[in-house]
Symmetry: C2
Subunit: 339 residues, 2 copies
C-alpha cells in the first residue's frame, strides 16, 4: 500500500509528502457528472456501489494518494431525525430548524450503525475495491458547522441566525453542540471500524466566528472529538479560517490540522511550533492557472511547509471549473517533488 498519508499522520519520515484533494470526487470529473445526471444526490450517497465508484474515480483518474469516502456532512442531522433536501447547484435545506429544548430533546443520537449503515457499507466496499492501493479517509462535519445548518436550515453568507441562537440561547446551544458531538464521535469511531484508515472533521463555517466565540462554540467540541477518537485512528481537524486557533490545536490530540490558503506555509509552521502534521493549503483558484505555473506553486508550497509532517492538499474543495489535467498536474507536481 502507498501509505505515505499514514506515515505523514504518524510523523514518520517520508521521501516526499502524500497528496489528495478536498472534493476530489466531484463535479470537475466528467465520470462523476455522468453519475450525477443519472442519480440524485442522496441516492449517490446512500447506495454503497455508487458511493464506492465515485470515491474511486479520482484515485484511478487523477492519481490522488488517498480515497475519501463519497458522502455528505449532513448525514448526521439526518441520522438525528432531521429531513435534509439537496437541490443540485443550490445547496442543502433543512425545513425543520431547531428552536427549543424540546426540539433538541427529540433528536436521536443512538443506533448510528443502523441509521448510517450505508456509509459503513460504502467504506467496507471501497476498502475492498481499493485492495490496499491507498488509504481510505472517513469524515464528518464539525459540531459547530452541523449546528449552523440545523439552526439556519440552509447555507448562509453570515450564519446570522445560528450565531444569534448561540448568543441568546447559550445553554441550548451547548446542549445541541454536545448531542452532535456525541453522535459524531460514535459515527467516526464506526467509520474507523469499517475500513477508514483515518478521519477528517470539516469545520467549514468556523471562520464565521470571532476567536473568542470559536473557543466557546467550536474548539471544545473539536478537541472532545479528537480526544475520543485518537486511540482508534488518526484525526485531521480542518477548522477553516481560524489561523488564531492553530497554536491551541497543535497541542490537541489531533494528528493533523488542515489549513486554508489565508495563512502562509511558513507562518503556519511557526504558529504550530513545528509540532504537528499540517495539511493544505493550495488555493483551488490557482488550479485555473497554466500547468507550469501550478507546478511551480506546488513546489514553493512544499518548500514552505517542508516535506516532513506535511500532507499536500488544497485549502478548500476543488471547484467544478478546474480542468482534469490541471488537477492531475497538481498531484503530479507533489509526486515529482524532490527536496
Amino acid at each position: 500500500m502507498n501509505n505515505l498519508l499514514i506515515k505523514a499522520l504518524r510523523q514518520e519520515k517520508v521521501d516526499r509528502p502524500p497528496v489528495w484533494m478536498m472534493r476530489q470526487a466531484g463535479r470537475y470529473l466528467p465520470d462523476y457528472i455522468k453519475l450525477r445526471d443519472k442519480y440524485d444526490f442522496f441516492t449517490r450517497v446512500q447506495t454503497p456501489e455508487l458511493a464506492t465508484e465515485i470515491t474511486l474515480q479520482p484515485v484511478r483518474q487523477v492519481g490522488v494518494e488517498a480515497a475519501i469516502i463519497f458522502s455528505d456532512i449532513l448525514v448526521i442531522p439526518q441520522a438525528m431525525g432531521a429531513e435534509v433536501f439537496m437541490e443540485e447547484g443550490k445547496g442543502p435545506s433543512l425545513p425543520k430548524t431547531i428552536k427549543s429544548q424540546k426540539d433538541i430533546d427529540a433528536l436521536n443520537i443512538s443506533n448510528v450503525d443502523e441509521h448510517l449503515k450505508y456509509v459503513f457499507d460504502a467504506l467496507l466496499l471501497t476498502k475492498k475495491e481499493l485492495n490496499g492501493a491507498v488509504p481510505l479517509i472517513g469524515f464528518a462535519g464539525a459540531p459547530w458547522t452541523i449546528f449552523c445548518y440545523m439552526i439556519e436550515g440552509k447555507g448562509s453568507k453570515t450564519w446570522d441566525k445560528a450565531k444569534k441562537f448561540a448568543y441568546t440561547e447559550p445553554k441550548l446551544s451547548h446542549a445541541l453542540l454536545q448531542k452532535i458531538t456525541t453522535i459524531t464521535i460514535e459515527y467516526l469511531a464506526t467509520q474507523l471500524q469499517s475500513g477508514a484508515d483515518c478521519v477528517q472533521v470539516f469545520d467549514s463555517w468556523a471562520g464565521a466566528l470571532s476567536p473568542e466565540d470559536f473557543k466557546t462554540f467550536a474548539q471544545p467540541y473539536l478537541i472532545q472529538i479528537a480526544d475520543a477518537i485518537k486511540d482508534k485512528g488518526p484525526v485531521i481537524l480542518f477548522p477553516k479560517g481560524t489561523w488564531y486557533a492553530l497554536e491551541d490545536l497543535s497541542k490537541s490530540s489531533a494528528a493533523a490540522i488542515g489549513l486554508d490558503w489565508t495563512v502562509a506555509p511558513q507562518q503556519a509552521r511557526e504558529l504550530t511550533n513545528y509540532n504537528i502534521t499540517l495539511q493544505g493549503n493550495f488555493d483551488p483558484s490557482k488550479l485555473l492557472a497554466p500547468i507550469p505555473q501550478i507546478k511551480r506553486w506546488v513546489k514553493e508550497m512544499i518548500d514552505g511547509f517542508g516535506a516532513q509532517k506535511y500532507i499536500a492538499n488544497l485549502g478548500h474543495g476543488i471547484t467544478p471549473d478546474v480542468p482534469v489535467d490541471h488537477a492531475k498536474a497538481f498531484v503530479d507536481a507533489v509526486k515529482e517533488y524532490a527536496g
Copy 2:
C-alpha cells in the same frame, strides 16, 4: 464639532473612542426602507438631496459620531465607462467584463470631477447640513475589490474568475489595477476637497487572496493610495480578512486600519506594534443578542483595544435584521465607556 474621530485618526488623546458603523445608512433603518421603496438604488446614489438625507439618518436617529456619505464602490467602474446594474437584494452586475488589453485601454480615468459630480455635490450638501456636528467620511473600493467586480461581472463566493485572470494575465491585471488606482486617488482627493474629513478604502474581497497574492495584487495599490492621499486627509484602509498584512500596513501612510472580527483586539494591537489607530471589529451578528449582552461585549472590546488610537465600529456592514434599538445600544455603550 464632535471631532473624536479626527482626534483618534491623529492619535491625539481622547476620553473615550469615537463610534460609527459600516453600512450605518442602510436597510435596518425604517426611514431608509421608505426611500428605498420610492427610488431605485442609483437614483438614491445620484441625487445629492437623497444621498444627503440617507447619510444623515443614522447620525440623527442612532447617534453615530461620523457620517459616511451614502454611495457605492461601483461608481468607479461607472466613471471608467462600465455599465453597472443593481438589483435590490441580488447585488450588482456588470454585463461587459474586462477581458483584454483593448478593454483596459478603453477605460476612462479622467474627468472624475465631472463623472462623479453627484458624489461631490452630495458631500458638499451633507457637509453643510451637518453644520459641524460630526465629521464626514468619504470612501472608495480598493483596486483589488473593484478589479474583482470588473472581471467577474457580479458577486462571487470564490472570485475564481478574477483570480484566474490575475494568475494567467498578470501584466494586464496590473495595468487594470493601476488604472483603477489612478482614478481612485483622484476620486478620494476630490472627496476630501468637497467636504470629506477623511476617507476609507474598502477592500472587501481581499480575504479571497493568499498572503502572497495579497502582497502582489492588493497591498501595493492600497499603499499607493495611502501615500498619495495622506497629505490631503487621513486614510482608513479596510482590507477584510487580511490579519497577516497588519504589520506591513501599520507601517504605511494610512492613518488607521479597519479590522473584521476574526482577529482578537489584543492580538491586532500586537500585530501592529501599538503603532497605528485601529478601527472595528464588532461582529454585526452580535447586534442580534440581548442589549445588556451587547453593552458588555462593547466594553470588553474597548478594553481589548484600549481607548486611545481606536475607533469603535463593526467588523463588517450592519445587517438588515438588526433592530434599531440594538444598533443604538452599540453606539450608546461606546459613549458610556469609562476606562
